[in-house]
């Protein structure tokens, strides 16, 4: 009898027709989804092409966005998007890290569970509700209590100069911060939880205080995960549409003041896309959407890679 060399991977071994049919269905649905995703980029680019052709690279360097003159440049939109997202990160990162530390390391179980639940509920609130709240509650609050104070005492700084309306960059940044805190903190929680207990005890046994232990064992050890979480939060803030649209004022412009109204790539789409009446206007909006898509792809890939790297590190 001859020796049969059986080299069978788990997927090839099935001789059953139904098995093959099933795996065919599963695989084609997977393939279809992947191709749908890539066709998204292609189709949007195709629709945006007239704008890129008309304006060339100046689409990204021109800050005028004017449908009367049919002149469209995305610089001010990019500026508004970046500034509002950075503002949100500035507030959300320390809060999220503190929250994750508190829930994982300090709080007793009952408190950790209930606060954790509240944070998850914050994540579940639809963007439109944040917008409504921002428009009718937060913006008036800022206008009446916060901004007069800032204007009076720090009005000399370019950040707090000019008239204030409540709605504007500051309100958008605050709302975004509230919205991305659950994202960043829940990822940070996962990262911190992955730090082995022995590492923490080893640091504590050197005679360090709790905070020093956090700094050395958790924050330094989980750095790549924390960066991943921050980048993901940035991506979230970047593409957030409804809440920002409702509170940012929707006025295209490059202003250094946080009081000024502004416009982001997402909010200009929400306000103008359905009403765009010329081909060039529609194409320019689509081009802004394409830019938004590509930039968010970049940031999200980056954060996914960071998070995958962190997961790999834990496993080994």
């Amino acid at each position: 009898m001859k020796n049969l060399h059986c080299q069978l991977s788990s997927l090839k071994s099935d001789v059953h027709f139904k098995d093959q049919l099933f795996s065919f269905i599963v695989k084609s649905l997977a393939f279809l989804f992947i191709s749908l995703f890539f066709s998204m980029a292609v189709i949007i680019f195709f629709k945006a092409w007239p704008a890129f052709k008309e304006f060339g690279f100046s689409f990204f360097t021109n800050s005028v966005w004017d449908s009367w003159k049919q002149e469209f440049g995305a610089l001010a939109l990019i500026y508004g998007t970046l500034l509002s997202s950075l503002l949100a990160l500035l507030i959300a990162v320390p809060v999220s890290i503190a929250l994750a530390l508190f829930l994982n390391e300090i709080a007793p179980r009952w408190l950790s569970v209930s606060l954790g639940f509240i944070v998850e509920m914050l994540a579940a609130i639809p963007s439109i509700v944040y917008g409504l709240w921002g428009l009718f509650i937060l913006a008036p609050f800022l206008r009446e209590h916060v901004q007069p104070f800032l204007s009076l005492h720090f009005g000399g700084l370019p950040l707090f100069s000019g008239p204030y309306y409540g709605i504007g960059m500051m309100c958008a940044g605050l709302i975004l911060a509230i919205m991305i805190i659950p994202t960043i903190s829940s990822l940070c929680k996962e990262v911190f939880r992955a730090v082995p207990h022995a590492n923490k005890e080893a640091v504590l046994s050197l005679g360090t205080t709790r905070w020093e232990m956090f700094k050395v064992a958790i924050l330094k050890g989980g750095m790549s995960g924390i960066i991943g979480a921050i980048v993901l939060g940035f991506g979230r803030a970047f593409g957030e549409t409804m809440a920002v649209t409702m509170v940012i004022g929707n006025k295209v412009g490059l202003s250094s003041s946080l009081f000024a109204p502004s416009q982001t790539m997402a909010s200009v789409l929400a306000t103008q896309y359905a009403e765009a009446d010329t081909r060039l206007h529609l194409a320019s909006l689509t081009a802004a959407g394409f830019t938004l898509f590509i930039v968010s792809l970049l940031f999200n890939s980056l954060s996914i890679l960071f998070l995958w790297k962190m997961k790999k590190n834990i496993k080994t």
Binding site: M1, N3, L4, H5, C6, S10, S13, V15, H16, D19
Partner: protein, 260 residues
């Protein structure tokens, strides 16, 4: 290996010829030759990592379900090589029952359904026939008395020992000719272990049992034949009584006397 071959021939159920197995690049088994006799209990023993589990997983073609795993050689069950090209692992496995280390009733299924699922898939739909076979299997697995009044309860609601007997009943229901057990008592407490050992003794009238254990006393109590594996090789295959009294190999003796 050095049995009186001629006499054994008609009683041989499984013949393993030149079996070697790999995970990716590391070899788990090398050149195993073994005859498993009908209606006998064969125990596979050896230190952990010696390839015992891999060996019995080769007997029902579960080995190849692991990513990167492959093997070479023949396993002849009732005169037919299960690794023949064109033979269907799914059909082969229906003739070979398996019980795992951890009791694993299917999640979300009742006790009844756990036992009946193997029958249902082989096309038995008649309720009365299913009832009868489920009862018989549960009786054979010595579980019937405990569960007959709540067959619709979840399989996972049973205790660990009961769950393992349920898994035995599940495997018995389809009338396999071989029953493979991969350390079936290692997750159980002593009383349940005794139950399972007794059960294995009773089962050998109906099926041929091959079981893996790391417990030498258990092998001595339960088995008729012992195969001793070391580092992926079969060191000794012998009658149980002879293995413990007159081991042929010095390594076996070392293992029995605890020098590992």
């Amino acid at each position: 290996m050095s049995f009186k071959k001629g006499k054994m021939k008609q009683k041989t159920l499984i013949e393993v010829k030149a079996l070697s197995a790999w995970f990716k690049k590391s070899q788990a088994l090398s050149n195993i030759n073994l005859l498993i006799e009908k209606n006998k209990v064969t125990a596979i023993i050896g230190p952990s990592g010696c390839g015992k589990s891999t060996f019995i997983r080769c007997l029902n073609r579960l080995h190849e379900e692991v990513e990167g795993a492959y093997l070479k050689g023949e396993v002849i069950l009732e005169g037919k090589n299960i690794y023949d090209l064109g033979s269907d692992p799914v059909l082969i496995r229906r003739n070979i029952g398996m019980v795992f280390q951890k009791p694993n009733p299917f999640p979300g299924m009742s006790i009844y359904d756990n036992v009946a699922i193997g029958l249902k898939l082989s096309g038995i739909k008649k309720r009365s026939l299913l009832d009868e076979r489920v009862e018989r299997s549960l009786r054979n697995a010595a579980l019937w008395k405990e569960v007959k009044d709540h067959l619709s309860r979840s399989g996972q609601s049973l205790s660990g020992g009961q769950q393992q007997r349920l898994c035995i009943a599940r495997a018995l229901a389809v009338n396999p000719s071989v029953m493979l057990m991969d350390e079936p008592t290692s997750a159980l407490e002593p009383i349940s272990t005794a139950w399972i050992e007794e059960l294995i003794q009773k089962l050998k009238n109906q099926v041929t049992v091959v079981f893996v254990t790391h417990n030498m006393q258990q092998a001595a109590r339960v088995s008729d034949r012992i195969a001793f594996f070391l580092n992926g090789e079969l060191v000794e295959f012998n009658k149980t009584s002879w293995f413990f009294t007159k081991p042929k190999h010095s390594k076996s003796e070392d293992y029995i006397t605890g020098r590992f």
